[in-house]
Subunit: 259 residues, 2 copies
């Protein structure tokens, strides 16, 4: 039992990202959204746990949607909500949720207003972008008008980075967020292979801190390593960081005395 005045720990909020588009898998387009969304969610205190990239094909999209939405607080999707035949994301989301999809009066009003100001004509292709699964809320698109949508825990966004970013800004204030993950990076000034074993011991002794090891090449010093510690408890993080720094001093000292 926790004392009455201790804060209730916030739950962990997790997310998955589903990137939809043949053009990413064929190499024609290089994804620019995954890294952006990873940074964005980390800053909000939402743990991105999984990313999938699938093509413009109903079976794989529906399967991925259903697997991911059962498992995570949120599923974000990018791509496949434009006006052409290969834009099938909205239909796939409707299918995954077992709901109908039709022209949405709110989306239609947005499109009509935008087309009126830009003097572009409405047609079947543009009408296609107003089809929204039943029960979804719209996600406004301040860049180009055609909205994304949000149904249960699935948030459907455009694939064009500027539009996706604007949509993320629209939904962010409404997302449940967890305790922000804190992170510390310690430059080892040692080869990864020289610190692997003691670092593993520290990781075992500090189970609530995630410790990652990332080799890099320093043009002056040669092979080097960054140790990254991540955790939600500042004190535990700081204790683990001190343990890593002591270990590194020991390893470097041993190497100097041998040299």
């Amino acid at each position: 039992m926790s004392p009455a005045n201790s804060p209730v720990p916030k739950e962990t909020i997790t997310a998955a990202l589903l990137v939809i588009g043949d053009e990413i898998l064929s190499g024609r387009t290089k994804d620019k959204n995954i890294g952006y969304i990873a940074d964005y969610l980390a800053a909000l205190g939402i743990d991105l746990r999984e990313v999938r990239i699938v093509g413009d094909e109903e079976g794989p999209i529906v399967e991925a949607l259903n697997a991911l939405r059962a498992r995570h607080s949120y599923v974000f999707t990018t791509g496949g909500i434009g006006p052409t035949h290969d834009d099938i994301t909205a239909d796939c989301v409707a299918k995954a949720f077992g709901v109908s999809i039709d022209i949405d009066p709110r989306a239609l009003a947005i499109m009509q207003e935008r087309l009126a100001t830009t003097k572009i004509e409405m047609n079947d292709a543009r009408l296609r972008m107003t089809r929204i699964p039943k029960g979804a809320d719209l996600v406004l698109n301040k860049v180009s008008g055609a909205p994304g949508f949000w149904i249960e825990n699935v948030i459907v966004m455009a694939g064009v980075p500027t539009i996706m970013q604007a949509m993320l800004d629209e939904v962010a204030p409404k997302l449940k967020t967890g305790v922000r993950m804190l992170s510390e990076t310690v430059r080892a000034d040692a080869r990864e292979g020289d610190i692997g074993t003691p670092l593993g011991d520290i990781a075992k002794a500090h189970p609530q801190v995630m410790i990652g090891s990332y080799p890099f090449f320093d043009p002056q010093l040669g092979p080097n390593t960054n140790v990254v510690l991540r955790g939600r408890d500042a004190e535990k993080l700081s204790t683990a960081k001190a343990a890593v720094e002591q270990m590194l001093a020991r390893v470097r000292g041993a190497q100097t005395s041998k040299a």
Copy 2:
């Protein structure tokens, strides 16, 4: 029955990519391998059908490995084969295949030779990189020594881009490859919403050609679209391309006559 002198159509070779690493999901490291591997496999005539990114956690890695290897000709993995406690890819592959994993004499010999020339000492962490699932072939690493491996249809590579690229060059000559996908890009000089419906009709009439539509913003002309046609049959591709070009001329003509 095909005539005796017609070439036997090559089978379609598909692949999945599994990117392993907390650092990608946290946003700390921006992936540079997905786009490279997508281009590389496309050039070989191997269809990349799915990509997944998971963290350094046994359950998700094993699950993804088993789902993907059952479905595709090849599964490529990147990341998690270094010397530290968070490098668990080899163990996860062994677990997915239900085979044992131990120090591999071939990998050990490579490491010992490399350490001898670089005067770096062997230790438990470096020994960890010689653990290879039983039955696997090694994938040589000309950059830094520690090998990847290849077991059944799963090819395990490093996450560091230069090392991954060298490993891909090692395995490429041994991969089964399909008929190379051909691709044509037609610049529409029209808004995506103006060509969506007729483009969908063309896609339906040419089922063996994949037609994608990619909006972009031209600083001079404003909203514009690239139409990308992909297929393995040069003649069918060329017929579909001609249909797209005729349609675009018609749409642009209609717009000019209205203006």
